[in-house]
């Protein structure tokens, strides 16, 4: 069964450094998403992406964040200058269509720790 993959599984970085989290969505999916979960808190929506553009973003997704689909398979989340509060689990997801009822397929997550 096809699945979403994410790399790395864990990342430790120093405050102020840039990080890039990588995701490979399911190959025929067209819509891509990033979520984060701070330890002990709810999973929160960050951004959705379709047709090489951001289609929606939350208040969390400020200028420090960016997303890109650099080739036909990867979908990346970049944090330009990490803060301590960026420490979280980051999940990537993809869907075939952009409907409300679509099942989102999630990756296993990248645990980011900012020191």
């Amino acid at each position: 069964e096809p699945e979403v993959t994410q790399t790395p599984s864990h990342q430790v970085t120093q405050m102020g450094q840039e990080v890039i989290l990588r995701c490979v969505p399911i190959s025929n999916h067209l819509y891509f998403y990033w979520y984060r979960q701070i330890l002990g808190q709810k999973v929160e929506f960050l951004v959705s992406f379709y047709n090489n553009e951001i289609s929606e973003k939350s208040e969390i997704f400020d200028d420090q964040f960016s997303v890109e689909r650099p080739d036909g398979s990867n979908f990346t989340l970049k944090i330009r200058s990490t803060k301590l509060e960026d420490s979280a689990m980051y999940f990537c997801a993809s869907t075939l269509a952009g409907e409300q009822s679509e099942t989102q397929y999630f990756g296993p997550g990248t645990r980011l720790l900012v020191l």
């Binding site: 709810k42 289609s55 929606e56 999940f91 997801a93 009822s101 099942t103 999630f106 997550g109």
Partner: protein, 115 residues
């Protein structure tokens, strides 16, 4: 405003006994409702979803959930717990908003299964 409340952060059952994981929601329109399960070091996996068809939804691994609009609930049940059911369970609402839809997660319920 949309919200999802999972009433129990932890549920502990004995193997072979019924499972009940509770979820209440609020939404503006006609929501789609999902239950996802997350095993350690794995991505979130869809158990089942409700999308305005039958109110009793059957999912994988013997789980089912009933959409009760009058009670704004979507509780997850299983007649007989298995050790492999031990995991974190998320209730998720996808609701229409202007220009698209919004996905909101519950805080999660960790299910423990005792031998």
């Amino acid at each position: 405003a949309q919200s999802v409340t999972q009433l129990d952060s932890h549920v502990s059952v004995s193997e072979g006994t019924p499972v009940l994981l509770r979820c209440n929601y609020s939404s503006s329109y006609s929501p789609s409702l999902f239950w996802y399960v997350q095993h350690p070091n794995k991505g979130l996996q869809l158990l089942l979803k409700y999308t305005s068809a039958a109110t009793l939804v059957k999912g994988i691994n013997g789980f089912e959930a009933e959409f009760k609009k009058s009670e704004t609930s979507f509780h997850l049940t299983k007649p007989s717990a298995h050790m492999s059911d031990a995991a974190e369970y998320f209730c998720v609402v996808s609701d229409l908003v202007t220009g698209g839809f919004k996905t909101i997660f519950g805080a999660g319920t960790r299910l423990f299964v005792k031998a």
